[in-house]
């Protein structure tokens, strides 16, 4: 009997150790609490693998952390930072696109978690104080999910006659969906759908086709939504656009600003200064950065000598990421002054193929 008891105790202990070691990622995620400034995500669509490399302000590599999630992040669907947490969508293996989670890094605790949003391979998402809103188009149906940050409960709804959701944004208890539409005759258009963030009831729906069919991310300044029009529809063709769209929520009026360069693909706002990255994300061409003052409407364009497909502005610094390198600029004195550059493509193995997908700033 004593032998049996000892045997059972040893086996139970072995099981517990095995379970614990399997649950722990085996890497020190407290690195997120260290003095790092930028996280660069390298991922692959061939396997469920991602590597996140952390760099300090001097662009020195601090550490790299690996995760079993594929196709994490994208220049088309950027990571979001909210309340010292970073959220990013992993689609999974590219030809399956079956992951239903948003990956979350808690920068105050140095922990990570996967939040189930109930949508496979979300292609657009937005995080506000209370929810993660996400969307995907499968089998002719475009779905919208809302996942509570408190209890992770998810609600779903379907968006009729929407080909694809370009961008999601919330402001003042209103959920804004910038959607691409497609008619039977093959014409593309766009629609801005406004829903109540709590009830998901429809507030308003506006045909936005004259303002473009594919757009940058959305931001807001005072009572105005701001986004860039990257392409517009003209004579049955999709053509380049170079307009900034300003949607005044108090008057429901729309104004456009002609920019100095085409493809305003991404916006970053700091105070009244809007930084606009001009880049063609599909063709991987980049051109420059416009700085537009939303109070004075002063516009200055800076041509870039390197590629850039994502920008983040924080504390008077601009961080820009290309396919292999990271560049920083000082924004003091209302200028864009180059500071430093670092090669950030750490994963160079031939199989699987890793690519730099996006970054986040601490």
């Amino acid at each position: 009997m004593k032998q049996l008891r000892n045997f059972l105790l040893i086996t139970a202990s072995a099981l517990c150790i095995f379970a614990c070691s399997s649950c722990v990622s085996g890497q020190d995620e407290s690195a997120y609490l260290d003095d790092f400034r930028i996280g660069v995500i390298e991922t692959t669509g061939q396997e469920n693998k991602t590597s996140i490399s952390l760099y300090n302000e001097s662009l020195d590599l601090v550490t790299s952390l690996d995760y079993k999630l594929g196709s994490m992040g994208s220049f088309f669907c950027l990571p979001q930072k909210k309340d010292n947490k970073v959220y990013v969508v992993p689609e999974g293996i590219s030809t399956l696109s079956d992951l239903t989670v948003v990956f979350c890094i808690d920068l105050t605790k140095g922990t990570t978690e996967e939040i189930d949003i109930g949508l496979r391979g979300a292609t657009a998402f937005f995080v506000n104080d209370d929810y993660i809103f996400s969307s995907v188009s499968w089998n002719g149906e475009t779905s919208l999910s809302r996942t509570s940050l408190l209890d992770h409960k998810t609600d779903h709804t379907s968006l009729d006659s929407v080909f694809f959701v370009n961008q999601i944004y919330t402001y003042n208890n209103r959920l804004f969906l910038l959607c691409m539409t497609s008619t039977d005759s093959g014409s593309l258009g766009s629609r801005l759908i406004e829903l109540d963030t709590e009830s998901l009831a429809l507030i308003n729906e506006t045909d936005f086709s004259e303002f473009g069919v594919s757009f940058s991310n959305i931001t807001h300044y005072k009572e105005t939504l701001v986004f860039g029009s990257v392409h517009r529809w003209s004579d049955m063709l999709e053509v380049d656009d170079q307009r900034l769209v300003l949607y005044d929520l108090s008057t429901n009026s729309v104004a456009t600003i002609d920019l100095a360069m085409k493809y305003p693909a991404q916006l970053a706002l700091e105070k009244a200064s809007l930084y606009i990255l001009h880049a063609s994300l599909p063709t991987q061409e980049s051109f420059g950065i416009s700085v537009f003052n939303l109070d004075t409407h002063r516009l200055v364009y800076y041509e870039l000598s390197h590629e850039a497909f994502q920008i983040i502005v924080k504390d008077n610094m601009l961080y820009s990421l290309g396919n292999t390198s990271l560049y920083t600029y000082d924004l003091s004195d209302d200028k864009l002054t180059f500071v430093s550059e670092a090669y950030v493509k750490q994963r160079t193995e031939k199989q699987p193929y890793y690519y730099v997908s996006s970054m986040f700033v601490n």
């Binding site: 095995f18 593309l188 690519y355």
Partner: protein, 237 residues
């Protein structure tokens, strides 16, 4: 030791072994992968498809197509007014520009873990989106193959207009909701599709253009959309 106690211990050991085996299986990557697969993925279907697509022959074919493309002409994409009755695709130097025009076909040779080693095919739906057929159905997603794939070809059908290429995309869009076709040689069905079959069927049904070659018989391997003389390569990554 008393016989009944011995039996009890034996039973307990057997139970523990079963629990350990079950636990280790649940935590294995293979289980995690299979847990997320489409419900239709049966072993019988996967074996049938695997008979057609063995890794060795797929690697050889992908290499042959790559060699062919690199030693052949890359063309400029069609102009807006391209008329196949009188115009021909124009040769360019270099590797072309990544496609954003509706109806351009995208093909990659990249291989995916635990999946058939055939690469993948899709079709450009707009400058920023593509349509492709995956295990769970037809999805619309970002036109990011230039970034997300190691290999990528953009090809356009030589005998169609720009408007007709757009119609091919619209045709693909009407086939959403169909299940995945694991019977790769059954390309005549229109009730289910695999990735390259969807693209092939669009041009076949709309315009009577057969983009298949004899490389895999009736099966439409993604790379055949590149190697067929009926398409011109307009981009090579």
């Amino acid at each position: 030791m008393h016989k009944s106690k011995r039996n009890t211990i034996s039973h307990l050991i057997a139970i523990l072994v079963v629990v350990v085996l079950a636990f280790s299986t649940m935590l294995s990557p293979a289980y995690a992968n299979s847990a997320s697969k489409n419900k239709e993925t049966s072993l019988e279907k996967r074996f049938a498809a695997a008979d057609i697509y063995d890794e060795g022959s797929c690697d050889d074919y992908a290499r042959a197509v790559s060699d062919m493309v690199l030693s052949s002409t890359v063309f400029a994409d069609k102009s807006e007014n391209f008329d196949p009755r009188s115009d021909q695709l124009t040769a360019v130097r270099g590797f072309g520009t990544y496609p954003t025009r509706r109806g351009v076909i995208l093909v990659t040779d990249d291989k995916y873990k635990n999946l058939f080693p055939t690469g993948h095919a899709g079709i450009v739906a707009s400058s920023s989106t593509i349509i492709d057929s995956l295990a769970d159905g037809v999805k619309i997603r970002a036109n990011n193959w230039n970034t997300a794939h190691k290999t990528c070809y953009g090809v356009t059908v030589g005998s169609t207009t720009v408007a007709q290429d757009a119609q091919a995309v619209d045709w693909c869009g009407t086939k959403t909701g169909k299940p995945y076709n694991y019977d790769f040689s059954n390309v005549s069905t229109r009730s289910k599709f695999y990735c390259s079959q969807l693209v092939w069927a669009a041009f076949k049904d709309k315009f009577g253009i057969d983009l298949n070659t004899s490389a895999y018989g009736a099966v439409v391997h993604p790379s055949e959309l590149v190697s067929t003389p009926k398409t011109g390569t307009i981009y090579v990554k």
